[in-house]
């Protein structure tokens, strides 16, 4: 049987549209695919394909300064995620729940780290720390990461709470729960998908961040993105590709996790009514 012609809005079945899509995918993902592919390339110069090998992963793993940078990244990302998630969730909840003077202005202010160019934030952070004579290092990186992740968590949590039926809290109070029990048993379970999604977002942002970290890191506090950058300045070796691939995989897993949790949270969002 011959297929029917595509209806006016069935763009995905139109040949020209499919070609545009294909071109877009190549444009977006070919560099990444090439990066990953060449991390398995058995060649020092990394220009021509010389056969498959895992040896640069092993080499990257045994590269002490690269491994240190990876550990630093994990430490910074771990601490900044925990702190920014707690503070951001509290902020998101407060913005959802309370009306206070100048709330709109405050609301605008907390979005600032999301909106302003990272480089400005990096310079601002650097100026701030040097003004206070704080030595640059893991501490300053962590503080900056908390500062820029926090609004993201707040925004995600608040978006989640926008669908919350306030009478659920009233029902809990009515049934005899005190304020803390109400929060723990009713509000928090509803909020949780937002909190987890926000945390994963914060973790991804922190692991990947280059610009702000570059301004706020000191000697001996190199994170993985910065280390990769400094390695590339000498030559693009398969080792760099291997390290980048590891970073991509971690980020990908976290991002997919975030999307899955948000999608699952969305399912019961409409309930009850």
């Amino acid at each position: 049987m011959k297929k029917a012609r595509p209806t006016p809005l069935e763009y995905t079945r139109k040949r020209w549209f499919q070609l545009v899509m294909l071109f877009n995918f190549i444009f977006l993902y070919f560099p990444i695919v090439a990066l990953v592919a060449f991390s398995f390339n058995n060649s020092r110069r990394n220009i021509t394909w010389n056969g498959f090998t895992f040896k640069y992963y092993v080499k990257a793993f045994h590269n002490e300064s690269l491994f240190d940078a990876f550990l630093n990244s994990l430490i910074v990302a771990g601490i900044s995620t925990v702190v920014s998630t707690i503070l951001g969730a509290m902020l998101g909840l407060a913005l959802y729940r309370f009306k206070f003077p100048a709330k709109n202005a405050f609301d605008g202010w907390i979005h600032l780290p999301i909106i302003i160019p990272e480089i400005c934030m990096g310079v601002a952070m650097l100026a701030f720390f040097s003004r206070l004579n704080i030595t640059l290092g893991l501490f300053t990186i962590t503080v900056s990461h908390i500062a820029f992740s926090l609004p993201f968590v707040a925004v995600v949590v608040r978006a989640r709470m926008a669908g919350f039926d306030h009478s659920l809290e009233e029902a809990a109070r009515d049934l005899g729960a005190n304020q803390w029990q109400t929060f723990k048993d009713v509000t928090l379970p509803y909020m949780m998908p937002g909190v987890v999604a926000g945390a994963l977002l914060a973790l991804t942002l922190s692991l990947d961040d280059f610009v702000i970290t570059f301004f706020t890191s000191g000697p001996g506090s190199t994170t993985l993105p910065i280390k990769i950058f400094s390695m590339v300045r000498f030559s693009v070796t398969p080792e760099v590709n291997a390290a980048s691939t590891v970073l991509i995989v971690i980020t990908l897993i976290l991002s997919v996790g975030t999307m899955v949790i948000q999608a699952r949270g969305g399912k019961d969002k409409g309930l009850p009514i």
Binding site: D165, S167, L168, E170, A171, A172, R173, D174, L175, G176, A177, N178, Q181, D185, V186, P189, Y190, D268, L271, P272, I273
Partner: protein, 363 residues
């Protein structure tokens, strides 16, 4: 405590929001134990605010609310002997039906063995036995409503507050639930206070109804008295349908009032209480009779022209216009299959009703 002491005593309660909006205006009400009480009024009349003040979600600006002899001033919702069924049901979406019902017992430290016994009983009561392990999103609106009811009743409150509980249900289910609510209330013996904007719902479920308008209670009466003897034009108009005719008081004859109806003439109607000057005469559409020939005495009667006939199956509404141009509506039962069609639009008929059925409304 004596049994005739009201379970809820609302004493000159006023609620003003944001210092400007008066939601509840000096309301005083006594609600007896075991009563099914309805707060009825159009939206924005303050009925829900009053209910929320009883539950403890709003504080009165002035006045006092006493529940079971205890002043509720400064008592948090979780320490009040009342429970509420919310308009949105507010069933906890992440808990099973059983956990929803058990929640109020669990947080107040009722022993687990007790809970295990009480939850199935409560679910049995609202006919949800066997639904223990369902999640709320697997339930229909009506079933969620029952969970909400069971969850409140399992706490054995002194008073159950129902905030527009049936407004989200479809018409058939709503009527069934009205009857069920009444039966439930009789069987558990708990005082129910229902907030509703539906006059038919209030009439069918409540023992006593308070009609509210603009934050004030206009009339408190049982359904029959409210329907047959409304005390104001607002109540008459809000409860059911009613015809209103302008008239002038021409004199008093003992217990009767002589009124001059525009376009009809002088009519004698029984009336207790004072009335003078311009009044409004009201008559329920179903009490109006239509005849081809002039009916006997003791009736208010006049000739009118049939303007329209609307057929509703069991009844028909006949719209009439009298000599003075005043509109009137009669609701007649379609006893014969040709009752509605026998009334011809444009024809003249005799409109009449028992003089004693006429209501004299002065305000």
């Amino acid at each position: 405590m004596t049994s005739n002491q009201p379970i809820i005593r609302i004493q000159s309660v006023t609620k003003i929001f944001n210092r400007t909006v008066t939601a509840v205006d000096d309301v005083s009400l006594d609600i007896a134990a075991g009563e099914f009480f309805a707060l009825l009024g159009p939206s924005g009349c303050g009925k829900t605010t009053l209910l929320r003040m009883i539950a403890g979600f709003e504080n009165p600006t002035t006045g006092r609310i006493v529940v079971d002899g205890q002043d509720m001033q400064g008592v948090d919702p979780n320490h009040r002997p009342v429970n509420m069924v919310f308009q949105s049901y507010a069933v906890f979406p992440h808990m099973t039906v059983a956990k929803n019902v058990a929640y109020g017992l669990k947080v107040t430290g009722v022993a687990n063995s007790e809970i295990q016994k009480m939850v199935p009983e409560a679910l049995q009561l609202v006919k949800l036995g066997g639904f223990e392990h369902r999640m709320p999103h697997q339930l229909s609106g009506g079933q969620q409503q029952r969970v909400s009811l069971a969850r409140a009743l399992v706490k054995k409150p002194k008073v159950l507050l129902l905030d527009e509980p049936l407004s989200a249900l479809d018409a058939k289910l709503r009527e069934a639930m009205q009857i069920e609510l009444v039966n439930l209330q009789k069987s558990v013996g708990i005082t129910f206070i229902i907030v509703t904007h539906s006059q038919s719902e209030a009439l069918s479920v409540a023992d006593r109804i308070a009609v509210m308008k603009d934050g004030q209670v206009k009339q408190v009466a049982d359904p029959l008295a409210l329907y047959e003897k409304p005390n104001s034009q607002f109540c008459a108009d809000f409860i059911g349908k009613i015809n209103q005719l302008e008239a002038e008081v021409a004199g008093v004859e003992g217990k009767n009032l002589v009124v001059d109806i525009r376009g009809v003439g002088k009519v004698v109607i029984p009336h207790e209480g004072h009335a003078e000057g311009r009044v409004s005469l009201a008559i329920r559409p179903e009490k109006v009779e239509l005849n081809a020939h002039e009916p006997g005495d003791e009736r208010v009667k006049f000739l009118s022209k049939v303007a329209n006939v609307v057929y509703y199956g069991s009844t028909s509404q006949v719209f009439l216009e009298n000599a003075a141009g005043d509109q009137l509506m009669a609701e007649i039962r379609n006893r014969e299959s040709n009752t509605a069609t026998s009334i011809l639009i444009g024809s003249e008929v005799w409109v009449s009703w028992k003089a004693a059925d006429t209501l004299v409304l002065t305000e």
